[in-house]
């Protein structure tokens, strides 16, 4: 009797996550896959085959765009880590009490407005008639207007800005759990700042670093707004390509294939990253 009730309780608790997974993740993906393996041969005529996937690998344009997107996302992740780590270390280790809360809050405040508004903010700053360009001119540092928008650097700035919080939060959590006495012991034993960082702090923070990197990488790779709005005429982004196939080309079949490839290739990159950093997914996700 008791086992029956506990079983019922177990299934009731399982139901929401199970429904979520099946209805919102698995079923749509099956549908997407079915669409992606149908090739269009004429109006309202389709046949089953892997032609859409063949197009992706056959036409350099598509996989080059994917490679470009992946490389820029990895670069954005690295930059976010380099910028985020000192901030997180400062918040977690060098501040106490109220200052700590205030600093943490200040990192979060920009995220209270939507991503669209933040991106428009960057457009106002970077454009030729924008804040930075006019300020530099009035200071006499440059003679004519300078265009900072519509290039890959602008995309990079936007990506780092939109995702840095997702790096800082896991880092602060893991660094917080590091006992200060370990660092002190390191100094007592004659360690230098560099060696303590390398031997004590970074190994301890590794799960946080990896989980932060996974989140930031996935957010950058799947970002649509920032690359479209800040990027220029050469700045192709893979998600923009998927949008184009679905909406302006009416080619859902190819768009679905691209969507699936994005899922598969990004998972492969994350898997490789975990292997290279010798972390397991359960470690990374379990400890933060």
């Amino acid at each position: 009797m008791t086992s029956d009730t506990s079983k019922l309780g177990f299934y009731l608790l399982l139901a929401p996550i199970f429904l979520w997974l099946v209805l919102l993740i698995i079923l749509p993906h099956i549908g997407l896959f079915m669409v992606s393996i149908s090739e269009k041969i004429g109006p309202r005529e389709y046949q089953t085959g892997f032609g859409n996937y063949a197009t992706f690998f056959g036409e350099p344009l598509y996989w080059r765009t994917f490679a470009r997107t992946a490389i820029m996302s990895i670069l954005a992740t690295a930059l976010t880590l380099i910028l985020g780590f000192p901030i997180a270390y400062y918040i977690a280790k060098l501040t106490r009490g109220r200052t700590k809360t205030t600093l943490f809050l200040m990192c979060m405040i920009p995220f209270w407005v939507s991503e669209l508004v933040r991106t428009f903010g960057w457009m106002i700053l970077l454009r030729e008639t924008g804040v930075i360009s006019t300020t530099l001119q009035s200071l006499g540092l440059i003679s004519g207007p300078v265009e900072l928008l519509y290039n890959d650097a602008a995309i990079m700035v936007g990506l780092v800005y939109t995702s840095i919080l997702f790096m800082i939060v896991p880092l602060v959590t893991t660094l917080d759990s590091l006992d200060d006495s370990l660092i002190e012991a390191g100094y007592d034993l004659g360690g230098t700042t560099t060696s303590i960082m390398r031997e004590i702090v970074i190994p301890h923070a590794m799960p946080g670093i990896v989980s932060g990197c996974i989140v930031v990488f996935m957010l950058s790779l799947g970002n649509y707004l920032t690359p479209i709005l800040l990027g220029g005429k050469d700045s192709l982004w893979f998600t923009g390509m998927i949008y184009t196939q679905f909406i302006t080309r009416f080619n859902w079949e190819f768009g679905s294939a691209l969507g699936f490839l994005l899922l598969a290739l990004s998972s492969a990159i994350v898997f490789l990253g975990l292997k290279m950093s010798r972390q397991s997914l359960s470690d990374t996700m379990g400890r933060t």
Binding site: P43, K233, T244, T248
Partner: protein
């Protein structure tokens, strides 16, 4: 006795009038085609309520395709995009001409649109708003830009913008002395034209500041002076002209590209009567003028230009003399499958360095 009769009559009318055919009209249209005051007037007169969703040609088709033509009761795609979408996806239903007051429409436009939107013997579209796309130029800084290919001139390097969409391909083709519309039926010939345009647009790429996406984006670029010449819609140019007299719409030498936005009924629309009521309402001359004053484009309504503001008429006449009007290239219906070729071309231009 008499008072009872009167009361019952009043009650009956009060109940019957709005309840007889009060529906919710879900309208899928362009920004500016359903101004607030027009909706308020329509709701007061007919008792229907109107829900507006603004969109563009591609998104309209994509939205209707996702629901097999459901979710909306009336849509307004351009006339050249109707038969191919119907052939591929079957998202519309034919117009019942007996429910439309044909006297409100300019006969030549009604006939032309009917011809262009006939699929398997049935008419799907009625003309509503028409306009053109061509060049919007800051005449003080780029007065030499008179045709699409002038955008590739060194004098305007880095200060040019256009869209990476099919109108750009068509406009450049005409400007290069080709005739893309005549090649619509011949895939090989059309591909040849696309290849030439691709080479031209790839060469032209260093001149471009950015490819614009939305109407507000290009207006901002022109208003701030960051862009001095671009391909854009006539209304955008006229709106900017109101703020800065130097900027205006220029009908290109090789001809502006003319479009007509239509009324079509989505296949699974639920409020057809309300849709016909809306069509017959907005085509009235007084309402058509209200729409022209907000959208900036003229309509297919008889006498629809009578109530249009004098400023707008002056700007229109400034951009179009009679020969420019005669030279407008009207989009014929796009054959199904042509857009796949254009898409591949646009992707290659976008990726070219």
């Amino acid at each position: 006795m008499k008072s009872t009769l009167v009361t019952s009559l009043v009650v009956a009318t009060a109940l019957a009038a709005p309840a007889a055919n009060a529906d919710t009209l879900r309208l899928l249209t362009w920004g500016g085609y359903a101004p607030e005051e027009v909706i308020a007037k329509f709701e007061a007169e007919t008792g229907h309520t109107v829900e507006v969703t603004t969109s563009n040609n591609e998104e309209m088709i994509a939205k209707l395709r996702a629901t097999n033509g459901g979710g909306f009761d009336l849509a307004q795609p351009s006339q050249d995009r109707i038969t191919s979408a119907q052939e591929e996806f079957g998202i519309y239903k034919p117009m019942d001409m007996s429910k439309v007051n044909a006297d409100l429409f300019i006969p030549s436009m009604l006939k032309a649109t009917a011809g262009n939107t006939t699929f398997e013997g049935e008419v799907y579209g009625l003309p509503h708003v028409w306009g053109t796309s061509g060049l919007v130029v800051n005449t003080a800084q780029a007065g030499d830009v008179q045709d699409y290919t002038d955008l590739c001139d060194a004098s305007v390097a880095g200060k040019v913008s256009y869209r990476l969409k099919r109108p750009t391909l068509i406009g450049f083709a005409y400007s290069m002395g080709l005739d893309p519309f005549a090649a619509y039926g011949d895939t090989a010939k059309y591909q040849d034209i696309l290849n030439q345009v691709e080479a031209k647009l790839t060469d032209c790429k260093p001149n471009v500041k950015t490819y614009w996406g939305g109407g507000d984006e290009i207006k901002n670029l022109l208003r701030s002076g960051e862009v001095v010449a671009s391909m854009a819609w006539d209304t955008g140019g006229w709106q900017l002209n109101a703020d800065n007299p130097d900027i205006t719409f220029v009908a290109p030498d090789s001809g502006a590209l003319g479009w007509i936005d239509t009324f079509v009924l989505p296949a699974r629309g639920r409020a057809d009567d309300a849709a016909y009521d809306w069509i017959n309402f907005v085509m009235r001359p007084d309402i058509a003028a209200m729409i022209t004053n907000t959208a900036g484009n003229f309509t297919a309504a008889v006498d629809g230009d009578a109530g249009v503001s004098a400023d707008l008429k002056a700007r229109y006449q400034g951009s179009f003399d009679q020969s420019a009007i005669d030279n407008i290239k009207w989009y014929p219906p796009v054959p199904a499958g042509l857009e796949a070729l254009e898409g591949a071309t646009l992707d290659r231009i976008n990726a070219a360095n």
